[in-house]
Amino acid sequence: MKLKWAYLAFLTGIAGLLAGCEPLLVLNPKGPQAETTANVIWLSIFTMSFIVVAVLVMLAVILFKYRASKQDPDYEPPHIEGNKYVEGIIVTIPILIVAFLSVVSTISTHQVESPPEGYSEDEPVVIYASSSNWKWHFSYPEQDIETVNYVFIPTNQNVEFRLYSHGTISSFWIPQLAGQKYAMADMTNYMNVVAEEPGEYMGRNSNFNGEGFAENEFTVTALPPSEFDSWVEDIHNTADPLTEEKFEELLEPGHLGQMTFTGTHLEFKPAPEGENSPHDHGGSSDSEENGGHHHH
């Protein structure tokens, strides 16, 4: 009995803490991809609480009813082998729940792996995000600029991040905009992100990659397309060009803060995609299809 009350008290405590806090980042989405995952998470929390509550109630009732101190000292518990109807039920219910969640998982995974609905027709803004210990380099091939540890994106436009690494495996994550994906040295990953609200969002590498991992963060600023364009223009007027020599310097392990350049490192150090990928993963058409990515 004590047990049950301890749990109840604890769960209430947790709920209280939850209610008292700011909305949690993952459950406070600012774009369609993160919204899909937030909805899936809420749906799974509700489904799963149903199971947890059912088990808790059954356990509490059984412990209350069949505890030895409450029973006749002469009571001899019966020998029960099992019952095919009861066992049928305890197999069927989990199967139904899992089948339901399998459908949810398959649909939502396809959703977040493709450009969000309503944005799939437009040409995406392409930004290469590459990691080095312990920095993020953002290259804009069309705008011909490069930033370090911060990225500006236009709102309400599909941004295609192309992820890779100059060394260790890292994981590119902007909790309020989209779930994460790995950046690795020998292949390029693709991720579609749309921000529907202007604002500044936290982004980070979530995959442990050594001593400077904790500070391996960046900021994402989403701003209306017109402001985005003038930001690009500003950079062309003020920033220095990125030279190969300078870029090699940036790759040295350490932390750099935020930096801005014109030009991108892709010109002298291309991303590992297409013919530059050391593993063509069994033919390029195949790998692209598997990546859920459609080239134009």
């Binding site: 518990p77 899992v98 399998s102 779930g179």
Partner: protein, 649 residues
């Protein structure tokens, strides 16, 4: 001296580290001095270090597991202390990285594995009415290889530096480009030699269970723990060779300049992740199935009822073992293999919830119409059911690939796997230890202290890990040595730290309980202190060397219950001479040479490697030509022993 430079640890400005080195040195000296002073070397050598008795090997595994639990637990408390407040500087980043890597490796390989293998060693031969395992000498070698691996790993702390790439040891981070010092070499070799020991255990126990069951015990009449042990060992035999080869490839990369997992020259870093988890996910079930077995025994005993749905319990474990090899990709949904592959692995992963759910309901139905006694082992089992359910359903949440893109690498994941491993494996092992304590030592552990420990551990567990679900959803990545105040992770991390302290108090109480009960507990507990049901309780407490004076005759999975309640004739015929295996120092010597071999390999001391290799081959040759027919315990001696326990059956 260039040669000796390699043995120094990488510079740390950390007084804690030097304090620990001094502490380790002092404890070692104290142990050697103590054993010498009390003139116990002879006893230790002839009764323990050379033993081939499965019960003693089991006890040695469990003692080692407990030592490792405290080592890994100290790491855990240090981590929670470092992250209790924002921008803390108790540990620096490098030290924190070594601490969490060590915590993971020690807890999985040297604590949990040793605990379940120790439990199987002690219980399985008794449950099937055997005198020992199929290959007793090999069994001793398994233990000593495990022990050599564990000691080698712990040595990294003071000589050369600990591994720092996480217990998952992902390349290229673990490669020489990013982790230059010998830490990862230690990882490779410590896991390699203890892994070989585990593989031999797998073979040994499959042979034991398939060939040495008492007359009448068909497969479907085996007690549930033995079933879980059989399936676990089958998984071991299929999964561990993958780890062996992956570690070898890692060693070749680091020490012989090959390019299996490097990022250039045709290497593929994610190959390691795949191989690691092809072993690693079955490993999860290697740990949890024996725990399920223990719970099945305990819940049936203290509900005073037979286990509900025996057949579906067995079937669900078989299904789990098959599915366990089909889900490894869920450890890196974020690798970019696309929606189709992720959906498939998402579904196979969720499918495991079905057989697991069946087991939960079967345990509930075992208690239904029972007569439940709340002893300490039962309290752990009762707490296990809801806590493990929470761990299980969060596992289903993680299995939804799209949502996993948000949970992956976060504290949510850390909360989940501790939520299955602690109430699942750790509670089961503590419960099992308390339950089988009288079988091991002939007295009961104190229930009052035991219950205090229980409440500390359960509440400490909840306080430690439930907050992590929340900070994970709030964007806290795992393995960060610190975080800013603005992140808002501070208050809940502080709660976690308090939880860790309660857990530490709980475990300390368990140790105190052992001391207290050893001094004060009554010794006349009899052979059946729990009113138990399965065959292992049909012999004496503590169990005599030969296990059963007369080989039992079994007619059900609850042979002892049938004997007590239904007048089943368990022991037919009279006492005869019993054939037993001889003790041997061969296993510990061979494992010692393996230790030297691996240590020299870690540091590229090739002369030592070659000499040790010759030593290993010599030991194997010696064993091949050795003649050892074992010995007999004579009838009179057995009768004498049985009389001391209050008469033969």
């Amino acid at each position: 001296m260039d040669f000796f430079d390699r043995f120094t640890i990488p510079p740390h400005d950390d007084p804690m580290l030097y304090a620990s080195i001094v502490a380790i040195g002092l404890v070692s000296i104290a142990i050697v001095f103590g054993v010498t002073y009390f003139k116990k070397w002879g006893y230790l050598w002839s009764e323990w270090l050379t033993t081939v008795d499965h019960k003693r090997i089991g006890i040695m595994y469990i003692i080692s597991a407990l030592l490792m639990l405290f080592r890994g637990g100290a790491d855990a408390v240090m981590m929670r202390l470092q992250t209790a407040v924002p921008d803390n500087s108790f540990l620096d980043a490098q030290h924190y990285n070594e601490v969490f890597t060590t915590h993971g490796v020690v807890m999985i390989f040297f604590m949990a594995m040793a605990f379940i293998i120790g439990m199987m060693n002690f219980v399985v031969p008794l449950q099937i009415g055997a005198r020992d395992v199929a290959f007793p000498r090999l069994n001793a070698l398994s233990f000593w290889l495990y022990f050599a691996g564990a000691m080698l790993f712990n040595l990294s702390f003071v000589i050369g530096g600990s591994p720092d790439a996480g217990w998952t040891n992902y390349y290229p981070l673990a490669g020489t480009d990013f982790s230059e010092h010998v830490g990862v070499n230690y990882y490779n070799w410590a896991l390699q030699i203890s892994g070989i020991g585990t593989l031999m255990t797998g073979i040994n126990f499959i042979a034991t269970i398939m060939k040495m069951r008492a007359p009448g015990m068909t497969l479907m009449k085996m007690p549930m723990f033995t079933w879980s042990a059989l399936i676990t060992n089958l998984i071991i035999v299929f999964a561990f060779p993958v780890l062996t080869i992956a570690l070898l490839m890692g060693t070749l990369d680091r020490q012989f300049f090959t390019n299996f997992f490097t990022t250039g020259d045709g290497g593929m870093d994610m190959m390691w992740a795949n191989l690691f988890w092809i072993w690693g996910h079955p490993e999860v079930y290697i740990l949890i199935l024996p725990a399920f077995g223990i719970y099945s025994q305990i819940i049936a005993t203290f509900s005073q009822r037979n286990l509900y749905g025996y057949k579906s319990m067995v079937a669900s474990m078989v299904i789990i073992s098959l599915l366990s090899f089909m889900v490894w990709v869920h450890h890196f949904f974020t690798m970019g293999q696309g929606a189709v592959a992720n959906s498939i692995f998402s579904i196979t992963t969720m499918a495991i919830a079905v057989p697991t759910g069946i087991k939960i309901f079967n345990w509930l139905l075992t208690m239904w119409k029972g007569k439940i006694r709340f002893t300490t082992p039962m309290m752990y089992s009762v707490a296990f059911i809801p806590l493990f359910t929470i761990g299980g359903v969060t596992g289903v949440m993680l299995a939804i690939a799209s949502a996993d893109y948000q949970y992956h690498n976060t504290m949510f994941l850390v909360a989940h796997f501790h939520n299955v491993i602690i109430p699942g494996v750790v509670f089961a092992m503590i419960a099992g230890l308390i339950y089988y304590w009288p079988k091991m030592f002939g007295f009961l552990l104190n229930e009052r202290i035991g219950k205090w420990a229980f409440w500390n551990i359960v509440i400490g567990f909840c306080l430690s890990f439930f907050p992590m679900y929340i900070t994970g959803l709030n964007g806290q990545a795992r393995r960060m040595y610190t975080y800013s105040e603005a992140s808002g992770f501070g208050p809940l991390s502080m709660v976690s730290f308090f939880g860790a302290l309660l857990l530490a108090v709980g475990f300390a109480l368990i140790v105190y309980n052992v001391y207290y009960s050893f001094r004060y507990a009554p010794r006349n507990v009899g052979d059946d202190p729990w009113n138990a049901r399965s065959l292992e309780w049909a012999t004496h407490n503590p169990v005599p060397e030969y296990n059963f004076a007369i080989t039992p005759n079994v007619n059900s999975s609850e042979a002892f219950w049938d004997y007590k309640k239904n007048g089943h004739d368990l022991f037919k015929g009279g006492i005869k001479d019993i054939h037993m295996p001889n003790n041997s120092g061969w296993s510990i010597i061979l494992a010692g040479i393996f230790f030297v071999f691996a240590f020299c390999f870690v540091f590229h001391v090739w002369v030592g490697v070659i000499i040790a290799f010759v030593g290993i081959i010599s030991c194997l040759l010696y064993r091949s030509f050795e003649k050892d027919d074992g010995h007999h315990i004579h009838k009179e001696e057995i009768e004498e022993t049985e009389k001391k326990f209050g008469g033969a059956e």
